[in-house]
């Protein structure tokens, strides 16, 4: 992971260097074009001024020119330079102390050697027909001021950029750290055993929202599994106690029983108890496997219509014995991808329950229908039904709703298996009122 850090640092250094050179280039360009613009303006105004003096000399004479220049030198600002010299190069009037050593003839814009302090002077020089020479120039104060201004602006810009660079990552990091803390706080709570902990989401689409949502979805699934597993082990521990205790007392009675026949009965009872316990055990494992999605590997193509016919045929004699009419409405064929043994068990459990509670002479209907992706298996009886507030309880493991004192048949896992089957097929089990009776609908997602 170290190399990742190096790549990041190199990228940052290169980016910073590029930004600095781009800024330096831009500054240089602004300065250079500004300076040349100033130079042009100064040169043009100097040329115009020289033209004016030449005019004055021609119309009013040399003495007037010298007077005008002396006056102008007195009035004009410090950065404005004007001077006039005679044919021998003696200064007649102007801002300079002496006529500078310049080449003879006209000069459009030249640097003027000067002994007057550090400032550099540029000037245009004009030679008049009578040998007099005129000089109009500017010192470099304008250039200095412009360069200072550019530098000041650049400094300000650098300051702003630097502040932004320092603050922006700080803000970004602070946001990231807060999000990461939320995620890791959830993980810590989970690690501490608080399985209901979740990271708050705000419905956005950012990367942290996505992580939080998938983390929560993962935790939901894990919590379901853990709760399911816990329920199974709790129920096992709790519900195996009763049959095991009964088994123990049966065996004990057998040992103490006086006759051979009594011992035989006790042994047979013990065998019955053992079988009930084993059956509860294997049902619980079926439920756990289905709820955990493990049984999904064993899914094959199943014809539900044929399966319903088989179940009906299997239960027909039992129904007749109870004088219940079993009616089946099903299509010729309805093939889905499913877990055949579990589906058979689920439908059998529903039919078995219905027969158990159906009053003699009544009708019991089995129905298979399909709507889009949903396959509905409905088993409806005319028995006492289940009151609305007890329906949720009926599906729970080891719940028997039979009247108190009535010896329970089976182990109370029937509907729990049906629901597990529904979940395995991404469906639901709903218990409804058949007015009167119970209508159980096993809805599967085909």
């Amino acid at each position: 992971m170290i190399w990742r850090g190096y790549v990041l640092i190199t990228a940052i250094v290169v980016a910073v260097l590029l930004i600095i050179s781009a800024c330096a280039g831009a500054l240089w360009l602004v300065d250079a074009s500004g300076q040349s613009l100033i130079t042009r303006l100064e040169r043009e105004s100097a040329t115009t001024e020289l033209d004016l003096y030449v005019e004055l000399r021609r119309e009013e004479g040399a003495a007037a020119l010298v007077r005008a220049i002396a006056r102008h030198a007195r009035i004009a600002g410090e950065h404005h330079i004007v001077a006039v010299a005679d044919r021998n190069g003696h200064l007649l009037a102007g801002d300079l102390n002496a006529w500078p050593p310049l080449p003879s003839g006209n000069l459009t814009w030249a640097a003027v050697p000067s002994d007057e302090g550090p400032t550099a002077i540029h000037a245009a020089v004009r030679a008049l027909p009578d040998g007099m020479r005129l000089l109009v120039g500017r010192d470099d104060s304008m250039h200095q001021a412009f360069a200072d201004a550019v530098l000041k602006v650049a400094e300000l810009a650098i300051l702003i950029v630097a502040l932004a660079c320092l603050l922006a990552p700080g803000v970004l990091i602070a946001i990231s750290v807060r999000n990461v803390r939320e995620l890791s706080r959830t993980a810590e709570l989970i690690a501490a055993g608080q399985f209901s902990a979740r990271t708050p989401t705000h419905g956005g689409a950012g990367p942290f929202e996505t992580i939080a949502r998938s983390q929560n979805a993962m935790l939901d699934r894990i919590e379901d599994l853990v709760t399911g597993l816990k329920t199974v082990t709790d129920s096992l521990a709790h519900d195996l106690r009763t049959p095991l205790a009964r088994l123990r007392s049966t065996v004990e009675r057998g040992i103490n029983a006086p006759g051979e026949a009594a011992k035989q009965t006790a042994l047979e009872n013990a065998l019955g108890e053992t079988e009930r316990t084993i059956s509860a055990f294997s049902s619980l494992i079926d439920i756990a496997r289905a709820e955990g999605g493990l049984s999904r590997d064993a899914m094959t193509k199943v014809d539900l219509a044929a399966l319903m016919r088989d179940v009906r045929e299997l239960f027909q004699p039992l129904a007749e014995e109870k004088q219940v009419e079993l009616r089946l409405e099903e299509p010729r064929e309805e093939v889905i991808l499913g877990h055949k043994p579990l589906l058979m068990q689920a439908v059998s459990n529903l039919v078995h329950n219905a027969i158990k509670y159906a009053p003699p002479g009544s009708q019991l209907s089995m129905e298979l229908t399909r709507e889009g992706d949903e396959v509905r298996i409905v088993v409806a009886d005319r028995g006492p039904g289940i009151p609305e507030d007890k329906r949720e309880q009926a599906v729970r493991r080891f719940q028997r709703l039979g009247a108190a004192g009535e010896p329970p048949e089976g182990v109370g896992l029937g509907l729990a298996i049906v629901e597990a089957c529904a979940h395995l097929h991404r469906g639901t089990l709903s218990l409804e009122d058949n007015e009167p009776g119970l209508k159980a609908a096993l809805v599967l997602h085909a």
Binding site: S279, S282, I285, D286, L314, L318, M344, Q345, E409
Partner: protein, 228 residues
């Protein structure tokens, strides 16, 4: 000469339970506790059936079975599997097992299934077109049943049940075997469900004043036999 059975089981107490039980029933029993031992015994000696646990040290039961079948060994095999592997019944049968039994099981269940397997050997009653038990006759081709010469009217499912019982005449057929072979059920619906089917069948074949042929063995299953 009695039938020779090989029992392969690594849990000593479970192995003892099966081995002693089978010896009491008159079988000659050899046993092995690991996969490689089992494979060695099964290929070097002749057995009439093999009871093979799925989870074995060294080499698991399914691999032993596949190796046997690859070596053209056709000895009938019953696989014993823990509850957690109940779903893998199909894999077991596909690997060449004749039967698949989930632990814990009752000894009578295993015994009935071994009897069942041995009865299916080539030359056994399986190939006959007419099955008989006393004066009860079942014609497999004409799908007709008569008792003392009089036709008995059976539904298709009843015919299948009777045919299974007659093929295993004088031997026990358990409820689970009936559920698996007639209805393709893999669990016990825990009611008198099979009993009601059997008692309907009994009413049709064992008429008034006739000698009862279809017997119920409490907690075990059913047997079709002239003897009590």
């Amino acid at each position: 000469m009695s039938d020779r059975i090989l029992v392969v089981e690594d849990d000593p107490s479970a192995a003892e339970f099966v081995v002693n039980g089978l010896r009491q029933e008159g079988f000659t029993v050899e046993s092995a506790a690991t996969g490689p031992d089992a494979l060695h015994l099964a290929t070097s000696e002749k057995f009439d059936a093999i009871v093979l646990d799925r989870n074995l040290p060294g080499m698991d039961g399914l691999s032993v079975l596949k190796a046997l079948r690859a070596a053209q060994n056709r000895t009938p095999v019953i696989i014993l599997s823990a509850i957690a592997h109940a779903d893998e019944r199909v894999a077991g049968l596909r690997a060449g097992a004749h039967d698949y039994l989930t632990k814990p099981f009752s000894f009578s269940e295993l015994h009935a299934r071994i009897d069942n397997l041995l009865a299916q050997r080539p030359g056994a009653s399986d190939r006959e077109t007419t099955l008989k038990c006393g004066d009860l006759e079942l014609d497999r081709l004409k799908r007709r049943v008569t008792r003392a010469g009089k036709p008995v009217d059976l539904m298709q499912r009843e015919f299948q049940i009777l045919e299974l019982l007659m093929r295993h005449k004088d031997r026990v057929v358990t409820r689970t075997m009936l559920l698996e072979q007639i209805w393709d059920y893999r669990f016990d619906p825990h009611t008198g469900l099979i009993d009601t089917h059997i008692s309907r069948l009994r009413k049709k074949i064992d008429g008034e004043g006739q000698k009862p042929l279809l017997h119920t063995l409490r907690n075990v299953g059913y047997r079709l036999s002239e003897q009590e």
